[in-house]
């Protein structure tokens, strides 16, 4: 949104010029995003909150280095990712690393699970707490590289390029990981959905 980014640019200008308490206002729309970003990396609530605070403090300290040609949200996400990774490294010890070095799995079955009766599942099923829980668990269980791309793209709704920029990988990699993450989730959740919605007579007349 043009107005939003114009307002934001003005806010940033004023903060850097000395109205430091305006940073509260600048950060408010992004609090959730920062938390979820670091949560996707550190994977527990206590650390996530602590690291999210660190990231925000850090962004505040370095706001003068923010360049207007970048998007503030992407810049902030990058800081959040770095803080998250820093925490992981500290936790695991410097020897063991790292997210960037994780390789794409060449093998693996990335085909979705067939189901024929999804559309007969009442909308209310999506409202059920158990389904949300199952989804959170399924996301938590994704391998790190897939969970992070999925979080930025589908939870925080960054676009492919912004996701790539924030994670420091190329957009092609983001597309591949996103596709696989979505398929893995679909696959994991289908059996669960079948228990949520009792099996109905589907369209089994059609050959696979």
């Amino acid at each position: 949104m043009q107005t939003k980014s114009a307002n934001e640019a003005e806010l940033i200008r004023r903060i850097v010029a000395g109205e430091k308490e305006l940073f509260h206002e600048l950060i408010r729309p992004y609090e959730r995003m920062v938390y979820l970003t670091v949560f996707s990396i550190v994977k527990n609530e206590t650390d996530a909150e602590d690291v999210a605070q660190e990231a925000v403090i850090n962004a505040n300290r370095h706001l003068a280095s923010f360049r207007a040609e970048a998007k503030f949200s992407t810049w902030l996400t990058t800081i959040a990712i770095n803080e998250g990774r820093k925490r992981l490294r500290r936790a695991k010890g410097a020897a063991e690393d790292s997210i960037e070095e994780q390789m794409e799995e060449k093998e693996g079955d990335y085909t979705p699970a067939p189901l024929t009766d999804w559309r007969e599942i009442p909308l209310e099923a999506l409202e059920r707490k158990e389904l949300r829980e199952a989804l959170r668990k399924a996301i938590a269980e994704l391998p790190d590289i897939y969970r992070q791309v999925f979080t930025l793209r589908d939870l925080e709704e960054l676009n492919i390029e912004e996701t790539a920029q924030a994670l420091g990988v190329n957009p092609g990699i983001v597309k591949v990981r996103l596709h696989r993450a979505r398929i893995m989730l679909q696959k994991k959740l289908v059996p669960f959905l079948k228990t949520v919605a009792p099996a109905r007579r589907g369209f089994f007349g059609r050959a696979l």
Partner: protein, 86 residues
């Protein structure tokens, strides 16, 4: 050209994001019209994404925002001790 299911699955993510080219889009849509399986896969994947983006799926810890701003306040005040708010 007739698309196979497998081919549709390979493009499902791009299709959802509207990133397939016009010709492929038409072919996939045509396939979906008669293939219940691919339609269900597409719908389920799409619904998972809707559910993911729903604010109730991932909730922040209670008091997160308050604690964050409290810490921020200390940080900001600490960085400019002379400029007390009126």
């Amino acid at each position: 050209m007739k698309l196979e299911c497998k081919h549709v699955w390979e493009h499902i993510s791009e299709f959802i994001d509207g990133r397939v080219d016009a010709q492929l889009r038409v072919e996939i849509e045509k396939h979906l019209e008669h293939c219940e399986i691919c339609s269900a896969i597409l719908d389920s994947t799409r619904n998972i994404l809707i559910l993911t983006a729903d604010d109730r799926t991932f909730e922040l810890p209670v008091g997160y925002s308050e604690r964050l701003h409290e810490r921020l306040k200390k940080e900001i005040e600490g960085s400019q001790p002379d400029l007390k708010k009126k």
